[in-house]
Amino acid sequence: MIDKIQSSCAQALAGVRDGDTVMTSGFGGAGLPSALIEALIDQGARELVIVNNNAGNGETGLAALMKAGRVRKIICSFPRQADSHVFDSLYRSGKIELELVPQGNLAERIRAAGAGIGGFFTPTGYGTDLARGKETRRIDGRDYVFETPIHGDFALIKALRGDRWGNLVYRKAARNFGPVMAMAARCTVAQVDEVVPLGALDPEHVVTPGIFVHRLVAVGSTVSIGPAPAKGAKA
């Protein structure tokens, strides 16, 4: 019997090695697999390359992983936020490498990896600093930049429900990068609120088919929480 369900987040992260590229879903806090990231901090792998839309918020999640000195490089589209002070200080002191990628190119490079595409020409970024040094081509009168796939060793994603075959459904806009990251890694681990029996997910509604998911772990209800109120602000 195939059962991809793991008993703990620690078990779900077995095999993450130093230097691995780890993709994490999420757009800010929405869809961020917080329980898996906490477990990754405990797991101990170092020199990680993290792929995420952002570069951590506050002192928890990715910010805590970076603060623990475990991230060599981050590939993201929008590192600078009001509460990204952990990243900001590591970046300014040269302790973390940043590969800045326009958000759509980031999503498509990840999708390309999952779909077996060796690269693609995109109009996004043409003529800008972020395309400097990259191959370009004019196709039917429009200028494009060549972008390469981003493969992950691990993808840590958050979904609402999953079954033992790894089929997943998501919740609202917490879906974001989950489905494409799930396709792009050697080992995809899904943190779900709830594991349901096979057949409980309507096959017409499955968003990520289980072929893309290697391990699942149920962590209970984890509706994303908003940012902490600013100092002095009323709660």
Binding site: P123, K172, A173
Partner: protein
């Protein structure tokens, strides 16, 4: 002259968004355009993080942090709205499926180049997000911004001095003083506020303006 307030600018942009349009409103001032779309006009608002049919902010206490906009502020979903993943969301932009996108800007050039993502300052941490995808993706890219900087420098220029977001991508510029079209023949001022002459407007603009034909 009577400069437009930010609300008036948003209302002016809203006038040009027709029923049935698929529209992405950028972070900041462009977000306010949504407040001025008449309730009887069906417009599909797109959010880069995977929402079509985005509705207004929820009532206090009703926030759902799995349902946020590009600025990571809580929003709602209209009846008939849909969620989708990031690659599909950016395919909607890059693939030319959005009709209009409205963005803020540091500078726009006479040929429609846009600079809105980075000041290029040595100490500034760069962050691009979806700006470059949005700039080149929609069928028409509108910019809304103050006509000049707080210190009076031109924001509409011959060539952008800030790092570019996209080349030749801006179709129309809405400022607190005027509405200006970017055409193959150059910038055409199509309207300007009361009490201002076209030559006054020209003096506040760093690239040649023409009157409408």
């Amino acid at each position: 002259m009577k400069k437009l307030s930010r609300d008036q600018m948003a209302a002016r942009v809203a006038r040009d968004i027709p029923e049935g349009a698929y529209v992405n409103l950028g972070i900041g001032l462009p977000t306010q355009v949504a407040n001025h779309l008449p309730t009887d006009r069906e417009v599909f608002l797109h959010s880069e993080n995977g929402i079509l049919g985005m509705g207004p902010a929820p009532a206090p206490g009703q926030e759902d942090w799995d349902l946020v906009n590009a600025g990571k502020q809580p929003v709602t979903l209209l009846t008939g709205g849909a969620y989708f993943h990031h690659a599909d969301s950016f395919a909607m932009m890059r693939g030319g499926h959005l009709d209009i996108c409205v963005l803020g800007a540091f500078q726009v050039s006479a040929t429609g180049d846009l600079a809105n993502w980075h000041t290029g300052g040595a100490d500034a941490i760069p962050a691009v997000g979806g700006a470059m995808d949005l700039a080149i993706g929609a069928k028409r890219t509108f910019v809304m911004m103050e006509h000049v900087t707080k210190s009076g420098e031109h924001k509409i220029v011959e060539r952008c001095s800030y790092p570019l977001t996209g080349i030749g991508c801006v179709a129309r510029i809405y400022t607190d003083l005027a509405v200006i079209d970017v055409t193959p023949q150059g910038l055409v001022a199509i309207e300007w506020v009361e009490g201002l002459s076209l030559s006054d407007l020209q003096s506040l603009t760093g690239a040649p303006l023409r009157a409408p034909a």
